[in-house]
Symmetry: C2
Subunit: 388 residues, 2 copies
């Protein structure tokens, strides 16, 4: 088959698998994300091998993640986020410290040296904002206080995980602990976020009428997409996750008069690109790596540890919400998703992990992502949810 | 910069350039396609080099072309297409024969041997349905009889160009003229088109209620996207252009009750992906190849010949519409666009063309694409156009 046709085939299979998986999950009363992740594992290289993961598919998946977080930003109000700021900070920080210690302890017990143990610990720390956000969107509870805390804390986690990677990689380069680089990174990250939120919000409020261009009725959507891609790029450029920039773009555009029109118009685009994110995340799992009882045992142990550590750390941070609220926040922080997978890949590229450790961390990232959504559904239901 | 960031940068630059180009073109009362093509040339590798053309960007461009032709199919009625069938066939066939002879004559005069001359002639034959269709969409005249003839004839042209490539490549392989392969190709192409239109239309009419899935209000859109990608893939699989499959998908979905809902919901997706098609087409042009008066002279000559041959052939085929109608059809068939660029690339890969011939054919493809839209606008205006 010609190369272009192979690429088109993978895109078609991935999209179809995502829809079939979502449909099955919904009939089983599960969040559609679970079905899409599972469908990805099944059509992926290690099971049916109906679709290859090539770069264009990965980029479609990244665009999906970027637009998903953009839409989550659109549904979030800065004022609401401010209200939960202190709790979110506490959840984010404790949700990093406890898993970091748990991951490091397991890695040390498993015989990794201290540098490798830090890398393993970094994978324990990650939180996938995308997976939880999509589940909360589907449940129609994005505006609930628990959801806002989860989103705020997930972003803080992402920033902390990035700082951790800076520390780990400066240890790796053998130059010792690089305080200057760490300082620069902290200043850049915080500066970027503050700049976008403060200046961006001001500009948006002042110039929202500029988006009513005379010719094209779709220009607010198009200008918003430019802002979203631009801030995603800027975030990636300074070493943050692109999705953070996209979330911030949504956040400041939510302050304009175009908010509800943008939410409505972006839905068809989201329906087209977001499924690629989840199905490709599933496809990254190589089930063949797990074909031994030893490895499976390790996966179970590591997953249990990762779930428990995050749940404990994050829910202590959210203790002020009461037991049920704190549990909801804790569970919402559990999925490692694509962030865990990215750290595992970095670790393998740097020859820190062998194939087995890589497979174990990938499997843990995926299992945490599949376990959390049904639990979230239970924790968030029986209350006055407004469907999205 | 990290590779992932570079890819994101190119995507951002391409999208932004497309929007700026479209805005400038509209202010100059030109079709936005012209602005997007020109913006692509400017930000592309040979002028500002702000964006690289990598595979993910090309795939986004192809998805853009696929969804564009899908939307054109959605705006087309099979009954209307049938009415213009005979004229479209005449336009398509004459619009191939005359340019083929003109291209062959120029190539022979320029000293190419008969095999290379056939390849050059094939590039003269191509028609870009995408560029004309977008311009007609913008002018709101897709349902006019001239537009329907152009679309029908462009598809016939694509099939004929494909048959020509089969002939050329069987000559190239030195096995002589392969009647069996030519026959198989003809049967496959016609069989595919008939199968989709007859069976697909029947199935769509019968089962259009299956698309009203109970859970998700966006399921007709999603099922339509699956059908669109699936038929695009099937077309590519049998060697047709993927956009033909996408057009057919739109055509049969236009026969369901979901037609107007699909037209409405697909607009935001089109606004996001279609610009990539035009801007990437522009980026493929390497202006450095044209930096000599000799080459520029050749480009002008070849472009004039390509325009004249297509205009004469196609407008004779459409003579029954009267002078103005025939001219509109003729001009609509002029853009070679991405089809000419694809044939030029095939020719370079097969070592048939040197760099200069390649650049000349690319430049001709692009110039014909930039000249035609403003002319179309003039020929289609001053009549009862209904804005899209």
């Amino acid at each position: 088959m010609e190369h272009g046709t192979t690429v088109l085939l993978s895109i078609f299979v991935a999209f179809l698998a995502a829809q079939v998986g979502a449909e099955i999950a919904q009939r089983l009363k599960m969040p559609s994300v679970v079905g899409q992740l599972a469908a990805g594992v099944i059509v992926g290289p290690s099971v049916l091998a109906w679709a290859e993961i090539h770069e264009p598919l990965r980029v479609l998946a990244e665009i999906g993640a970027v637009l998903l977080l953009f839409s989550v930003g659109l549904e979030t109000r800065i004022a609401e986020l401010k209200k939960v700021g202190k709790v979110a900070l506490l959840v984010g920080v404790l949700g990093v410290i406890v898993p970091f210690m748990a991951g490091g302890a397991w890695a040390a017990a498993a015989g990794f040296d201290s540098y490798k143990a830090m890398f393993v610990a970094a994978a324990f720390v990650a939180t996938s904002a995308g997976i939880t956000a999509k589940v909360l969107q589907e449940l129609g509870v994005i505006s609930r206080i628990e959801s806002q805390i989860i989103l705020g804390a997930a972003i803080i986690d992402d920033v902390l995980a990035m700082l951790l990677l800076v520390v780990v990689s400066s240890l790796q380069s053998g130059t010792g602990f690089d305080f200057l680089r760490l300082g620069t990174t902290i200043v850049q990250a915080l500066g970027f976020i503050l700049l976008v939120v403060v200046v961006g919000r001001y500009v948006m409020k002042r110039s929202s009428n500029l988006m009513d261009a005379p010719v094209d009725p779709q220009s607010p959507l198009i200008i918003s997409l430019v802002i979203c891609l631009g801030l995603a790029l800027a975030a990636a450029y300074i070493g943050l996750a692109a999705i953070i920039g996209a979330f911030l773009a949504g956040l400041i555009l939510a302050e304009t008069d175009h908010r509800s029109a943008l939410q409505k118009e972006s839905k068809p685009i989201l329906a087209f690109v977001v499924p690629f994110f989840f199905v490709v995340t599933g496809m990254e799992v190589d089930m063949r790596m797990l074909a031994s009882w030893d490895v499976l045992g390790t996966v179970l142990l590591v997953t249990l540890l990762a779930v428990a550590a995050k749940l404990v750390g994050a829910s202590i941070g959210a203790a002020s919400l009461g037991f049920k609220g704190a549990m909801a926040v804790g569970v919402g922080m559990v999925p490692r998703g694509e962030v865990g997978i990215i750290i595992a890949s970095l670790g393998r590229q740097a020859n820190v992990f062998g194939n087995t450790t890589y497979a174990v961390i990938i499997a843990m990232s995926l299992l945490t992502s599949v376990i959390a959504p049904p639990a979230l559904k239970v924790l968030f239901k029986n209350e006055d949810a407004q469907p999205a």
